[in-house]
Symmetry: C2
Subunit: 443 residues, 2 copies
């Protein structure tokens, strides 16, 4: 079936230079591709005639734009949302996160992923790069819920032998679904040995996968890698041959000039996590410099343990505000550029070529959202892009399409039963917390 | 008529030490005061019996808490939302803000205020400290819309003789409405002469008003004040005798140790505007230090020209994130403390004594909001306060009561016709922009 979104403010995210960023027009979808982006009545009429069975969405007073792309997430950790905040890192890990994770089953992880996907879709996130364990179990969830996903199987030295087969299994489970892609995800250059980093690269080369990892998130990490390898984290990964356009480097907070040049030169996808970096006090990533150097920069939430939500509107806004604050230049990362990080640029993290995703153009993958502009905080409309970036909210997203399929309509996630989902989540969390308490009693 | 909110998660914002922050119970209102905060069935039953005409709100799965208090806003500037972003300060003022303001009528300002109030109420903001011109004209709007307001009549040296009579007029227009209070608002210590600052103080003393001003927002301001008066902005205001618990000092970004001690010692209400400070690249206010020194710190939006919305959830969250980022300490400004700035502490900016506003306790003013917790981004509930502060959204607010009157119900602003309001705003903005274009043609 074809879809047609009519009389919308269309924001295709393909403008550059002085080209108008939006126009009034219609967007048509056939199958999983965008088949029409037009303001010409005759073209729109021809589309209607060619697709007599099409479903039409009246978008007067609304805006149609590409869906948002979250390029670094630990979605299953929604089960641990607000479980432990405002405490020092090591207490957070030792007393909360690790015990919780030790008592989670693969089904629990899948449930956390389901809750995370519901939140993402409702907020207009159509693509997510995820990084966690039991991602092979999550292939089914992502397929069923309809989100576009790059699922990164996270490993450390201690569990690589368990995880590598999971990667192969996940590849197999998603082989017939182009919307789901799999990646190897060594945790970080300071927690995974060079040999085991290379084993990740090897499996990526074998199956044509992406590789994702945390890079230079904290000063401690930089110090450890320097002590061990006499290189920066970026330099170390580069020396191992791990940096390419198929590498997603999350955080990249503590970089030197050479690191910035290397990331740009290798075409690495930098995933910037501004709210996480702020909340965990990691530092401020040099995004303005990375962009000046020509690096591919994208935006991400980092999941609910360090943020604590999956709201990409807040992230892209914070990305802009934080760069302005840190550089002292209020002109840095203007609204449209910030939005590009979360759409057109984000597409590269999903392994898509420029123009294939994160934009509205004929032939591109049909991931789009309808934003209701008839809200007090989005009026008046002097500049709709500024309104979206500086005032837009997850709750303004009305309809969401991924891969040509409507997954949210009138703010309802199709196929999800929220009260039932919340009850399952609550029950699961109680069970895990009881297991933690029991194991502590035994010790 | 009495109101009763039953079976809610109640967050009274009165906890300190190890006292539980929330409990399950009911909140009752009689007239404009909170008359019941209880988890005891017999007490709740007695309240029902004493008020047979009461209206009951079933709050299962919801949370009841004090309304949010925005302590520094230029609400009428909603007409200029996203009018000019990402450009240098002087171009912003000269080419956009000042020409726009020159062509605004008092009715236009009242309309901007109306749009701002609608946005605030829908987002759970029950009290606002405003600062702009034609505030005498805005008394009627604030009265009609039902928000609690402290309206600060802004003046410079050039227009003080027009504004002082407006203050007297505003005092007169609000004399019979305790919900509306008036303040003198000299723009800043670098734009208003010492004599004219003192004329503001004099009128405050005469009528028992608050005084509000911008303080130490930028390094330029500090430099100018130092050059002119050989003092910091805080030192200068203090030497003039302008600092007291009835002073609201907006921004306070660039302070030295003595300034911090002075603000704390004089009981000044510091209004922190984190998103504005970030977006305009003003710097980071030393909030953690101010709190350690015992200063009264509150949170604010600064209006839609520098933010660009009136969302206090984002501000209080950003307040916490920004302090964690700037200090390098992830434990600074934890969730509950951040929420206190926007509730219990904010009450002081409204000229209320501790416990009279911004808390749920018997005898306090009845300003409260009902938050719907049945949202994916607010589940599961390990810690409801962390969920609110780190994930809460304006759109989660379902019902809003100010001064005992329901002003928002089921996310509808009672008495407001949004399509009609947006049309009037659009028409007004077009008229003002046309006037600007015409005047430029004449020049």
């Amino acid at each position: 079936m074809a879809l047609l979104f009519t009389d919308a403010a269309v924001l295709p995210m393909t403008a550059c230079g002085d080209v108008a960023k939006t126009f009034t027009g219609s967007v048509g979808i056939v199958g999983n591709r965008i088949a029409l982006v037009s303001s010409v009545d005759a073209e729109i009429e021809a589309f209607r005639e060619a697709h007599p069975d099409l479903k039409t969405y009246d978008c007067r007073g609304k805006l149609v734009m590409p869906g948002l792309i979250d390029t670094h997430c630990h979605a299953a950790m929604t089960l641990q949302r607000s479980y432990a905040d405002d405490i020092p890192l090591m207490r957070w890990l030792n007393d909360y996160i690790w015990p919780f994770e030790a008592h989670q089953t693969p089904d629990d992880v899948a449930l956390g992923m389901e809750l995370g996907i519901v939140e993402m879709l409702l907020g207009g996130v159509t693509s997510v790069v995820d990084m966690y364990y039991y991602e092979d179990r999550c292939v089914e969830v992502a397929r069923r819920m309809g989100i576009r996903a790059m699922l990164g199987c996270n490993y450390f030295d201690r569990n690589i032998d368990e995880v590598l087969p999971q990667i192969e299994r996940a590849v197999e489970l998603s082989a017939d679904c182009d919307r789901i892609r799999i990646a190897a995800a060594p945790h970080a250059p300071y927690t995974v040995s060079p040999d085991n980093l290379l084993r990740g690269k090897e499996i990526c080369d074998r199956y044509g996968l992406h590789l994702m990892t945390h890079v230079a998130e904290t000063q401690d990490e930089v110090r450890i890698v320097r002590e061990r390898y006499a290189k920066t984290p970026v330099g170390h990964l580069d020396a191992l041959g791990l940096l390419s356009p198929r590498t997603i480097a999350a955080h990249c907070v503590h970089l030197d000039a050479q690191d910035i040049a290397t990331l740009a030169d290798r075409g690495v996808v930098v995933s910037h996590n501004p709210q996480s970096n702020m909340k965990i006090s990691s530092g401020v990533a040099p995004i303005a410099e990375l962009l000046r150097a020509g690096a591919t920069v994208t935006v991400a939430t980092d999941g609910t343990c360090s943020n604590n939500d999956l709201d990409m509107w807040e992230e892209l806004r914070t990305a802009s505000f934080l760069q302005k604050s840190a550089t002292g230049d209020p002109c840095v990362l203007p609204a449209y550029e910030a939005l590009k990080l979360a759409t057109a640029s984000g597409a590269r993290a999903m392994g898509r070529s420029d123009g294939e995703l994160g934009v509205l153009r004929e032939g591109a993958l049909a991931d789009l959202i309808v934003v209701d502009l008839q809200k007090p905080h989005l009026q008046p409309i002097h500049d709709v892009v500024s309104n979206l970036v500086y005032c837009g909210k997850a709750s303004d997203v009305e309809t969401v399409v991924v891969d040509g399929r409507v997954v949210v309509e009138q703010r309802q996630v199709l196929g999800a039963n929220l009260p039932e989902l919340f009850a399952r989540v609550d029950e699961t969390v109680r069970r895990i917390l009881a297991k933690i308490r029991n194991s502590q009693l035994v010790c």
